[in-house]
Symmetry: C2
Subunit: 338 residues, 2 copies
């Protein structure tokens, strides 16, 4: 018998406030007619239609994470007291002390969750966090159930003049519950491949001025927000294709043997390019970035949630998660459904 680490459930949360493209296009048109046109093209290219924006100050990454986690706990049919650990992935932490995971644990009354910490790998964070959780569970017999949550509230910290952080992203959280099962089958998380390059390290910065300058009143507020300088996404897209293929091939699967692939939901066009490069059917990638905007760390799991809800994944299905975080780090994660 081996240890298999499977996903017992997935839950998501999005704020109530839904915003369509029109409102953002008008926002930028009011600044500059040409900019409005460009934003309209950008949103079409990325495959956006709607997104949800957190109701500040009533909502933040922690409240969204609580809601997504409660949904995952309910779907798993477990008691929060069964959780042994909580990992919180975010690049918009509400606090750096204590960890957001501690505050989530408190709200869930998950009093037996002792392995509790935050992780930040930006938009690839939740993929990395799930990979870590499964590794810790394989190595530490005390960890039978871990909650991994990804939550981002980027709009609030963005610039009104930036089409990406203001218009193309959405606020949301996703949560998965990982469980250790004893099995003689090859199920659960199998392997992961990472690929990092650093030449784009200063294209996406938060805060642009660096945190140690945040109290300097001579620095304009806009430098204390997200900087998102557009870059050519061709290389990151082809890198995603490569590491999806690698994680499958090196574990005995051809790409066509994957039943579904859940990629970053940043751009529908990027998914089409990876689909073409891998000669893999577009319909087996799930795209939900049109409904939620780009929700960063949670985004591949927002897509996974929809696939689970629509019963598109059955036992023994081969699944790959793949995303890219700023800087850039890409990661692919191979999973066989339990």
């Amino acid at each position: 018998m081996n240890k298999g680490i499977v996903m017992k459930s997935v839950g998501i949360y999005h704020p109530e406030k839904k915003i369509g493209n029109e409102s953002f296009i008008n926002h930028f048109k009011n600044m500059d007619e040409t900019l409005g046109e460009r934003v309209s093209h950008l949103l079409t290219h990325l495959g956006r239609q709607e997104r949800y924006i957190a109701d500040f100050p009533n909502e933040n990454v922690i409240t969204m994470a609580i809601n997504a986690s409660k949904s995952a706990i309910e779907k798993a049919g477990i008691d929060p007291l069964e959780l042994d650990g909580i990992i919180f992935s975010t690049d918009t932490p509400e606090y750096t002390s204590p960890s957001n995971a501690i505050l989530l644990r408190d709200a869930l009354e998950a009093s037996n969750a002792h392995t509790v910490y935050d992780l930040n790998a930006n938009c690839v964070g939740m993929v990395v966090a799930v990979d870590q959780a499964q590794a810790l569970m394989k190595c530490n017999k005390r960890l039978k159930k871990i909650l991994v949550v990804g939550s981002t509230m980027i709009h609030h910290f963005g610039l009104e003049t930036d089409p990406i952080t203001y218009g193309a992203l959405g606020d949301a959280a996703a949560a998965v519950i990982l469980e250790t099962v004893e099995t003689d089958k090859q199920i659960g998380f199998i392997d992961s491949v990472y690929a990092t390059r650093t030449d784009l390290r200063d294209y996406i910065l938060m805060p642009e001025c660096g945190m140690s300058n945040i109290y300097d009143s001579s620095i304009p507020e806009e430098k204390k927000r997200w900087k998102w300088q557009p870059f050519d996404t061709e290389e990151p897209e082809s890198r995603c294709g490569e590491i999806i293929k690698q994680v499958l091939n090196e574990n005995g699967f051809a790409v066509c043997q994957a039943n579904m692939i859940f990629m970053t939901q940043f751009s529908e066009d990027a998914i089409k390019n990876v689909s073409n490069a891998l000669d893999y059917p577009l319909e087996q990638f799930k795209y939900v970035g049109n409904q939620y905007g780009y929700t960063g760390t949670s985004s591949p799991f927002m897509a996974y949630y929809h696939a689970i809800t629509q019963e598109q994944i059955k036992e023994n299905d081969v699944v790959v998660f793949c995303s890219v975080g700023s800087g850039l780090t890409a990661a692919s994660l191979l999973y066989i459904a339990g």
Copy 2:
């Protein structure tokens, strides 16, 4: 043959600027004579003599991490290109995008390090990060060498009126290089035990107002800094004793069979209490918090560095790391020297 994950080297960095107790005591005496007296007692109780403070704006958590990492790389006698991953533990990140680990990787020119991310579990962060690194290395054959670094620059973000963050802490970084070895002996990282409680979750906050309120000019700057409300440390101390004993006993060792124990360097008094509770010789705990102040995430590894430098650890020695992060999470990590 089994996989053992051992520490190949450890490096540390502290800023040049050294400050003795007198200067802090005078700082608080100038505010209020009684406060000055209290700070003097506090520093004695915690076992402080000196600490180093980062040279802002020339230094930050990333520059300190670069220096500690370079030292660890040099001591290991490896090329940065041999690194497969970099994990950066901090609760004073310079950026939340990209990860500080990405910027460290770039500075080190560690171009083959692909598993690259930040982690935050506050002062227990580096213990958690090392635990994760060893688990990932045991589960993923691609990871043979991982650099784990802990770096904190808290003084700069503290309040001038707060004895703890202003006077009792120090800025520093520590870095360890973990390596996978094939071995038939029981060496390397063996097990870990975590213990979390959340009733003290709002005693240590950064920023006190929450990050989503950081742009609100109606909130005074002091609420945008660290809040450190003193609390009774008796329970966390006894919890440390318990999980040090647990991680040893559950792996076949009596407490007296541990050769050294590296605890949080927050308080010399706390170490004495744990020493008494466990009936374990005080001299086998290494205390360096008198020299560096409390350096948070790096603190147990600052002590480990001194033990290594003084050749106090030999092959097959049984070692425990144990620390506590705000919120609170405590963790103990059992290691057998390779």
